[in-house]
Amino acid sequence: MDYPLIVDVFFVLLATLAVVSGWRVFATDSMVRASFFLLVSFIAVGVIMILLAAEYLGVAMFFMMAVEMMVMAIFMVMFMMNPAGLNPMMMVHQHKFSIAAGAAVFLVLATVALLAEFPDSPLPADLDPVASLGDELLGDSMLIFESAGIVLLTTMIGVVVLSSHRGRYGAADEGSMPPGLVPGGDPAGMPEEDDEGDGHHHCH
């Protein structure tokens, strides 16, 4: 399928933007910038999707990722000690191995892309991508779509439980303990050998 020249020009620009900002994610000191670089990478890919006629997916990418990266940035601020990047910062492990692994993955996938033969069958001219997606979601693949919905709901509940301050038997940071079976007795349902003390608190 042949695209007009202007589309190719845009594609080259967007591809460069996507890769450069994707790389800057791991090369910037500021954690907030890192999350927004990732957002830029996603937006560039989203625009490429729109160029590919996937109009719904491209636009959905914008708002999904905007919200997601906003939350990500807030978490960065909360958990990182250098969120603003005022100090140089490099928190990596197995660095050389990771670079090699990343390069290897790229090379393998690139080889596949270059050498494999893919059928050349572009979109039919009369296809309405948005309507086709909608028909699929609420037609043949409804089960998959609804399962995804259920999984998301389960995730929400699980996440709230995991991150909630209140445990079943009291606040998490105070060491929630089940009550005894008899008044004043040992906590119920705790293994005998579980000795309270240093075992849990590893500050690396």
């Binding site: 589309v7 996507a18 890769v19 994707g22 994610v25 791991f26 890192a34 990732l38 990478s41 996603f42 890919v45 999707m49 590919l52 719904y56 997916l57 999904m64 997601e68 939350v71 990500m72 978490f75 960065m76 958990f79 990182m80 928190m91 197995q94 660095h95 990771s98 670079i99 692994a101 990343g102 390069a103 993955v105 790229f106 996938l109 690139a110 892309a113 270059l114 059928p119 069958s121 572009p122 979109l123 039919p124 296809l127 991508p129 086709s132 997606l133 043949d140 693949s141 998959i144 779509f145 998301l152 995730t155 929400m156 699980g158 996440v159 995991l162 991150s163 849990h200 608190h201 690396h204």
Partner: protein, 101 residues
């Protein structure tokens, strides 16, 4: 913009994401690596759908599913970070040597 160039772009994004996921100590940065991998996967899926799959609707569906996976990954990741941070006061991957409390 051909299928090969699109796939090369996807491969580059996946490669960078792979590097990030393996090398970063911080949980949140690690998740960013995973997201970047999924970014490449989605791009590849849409590229196949548009240029090689004759617009089969399952191509778009796959992308939607990947988006859902991303949301789940994010949510679970953050919940883990919060839980680990509560007990260990750290958000680095080495912080979880045991996950019971």
């Amino acid at each position: 913009m051909t299928l090969v160039t699109l796939l090369l772009l996807a491969a580059a994004l996946i490669g960078i994401g792979f590097y990030g996921a393996l090398s970063q100590q911080s949980f949140v940065m690690l998740m960013m690596g995973l997201e970047l991998i999924l970014n490449g996967v989605m791009l590849a899926a849409v590229a196949f759908w548009a240029l090689s799959g004759a617009g089969a609707p399952e191509g778009q569906l796959l992308t939607i599913v990947v988006m859902a996976v991303m949301a789940i990954e994010m949510a679970m990741g953050f919940a883990l970070v919060v839980a680990v941070f509560r007990t260990n006061q750290a958000d680095v991957t080495e912080g979880i040597t045991e996950l019971k409390h």
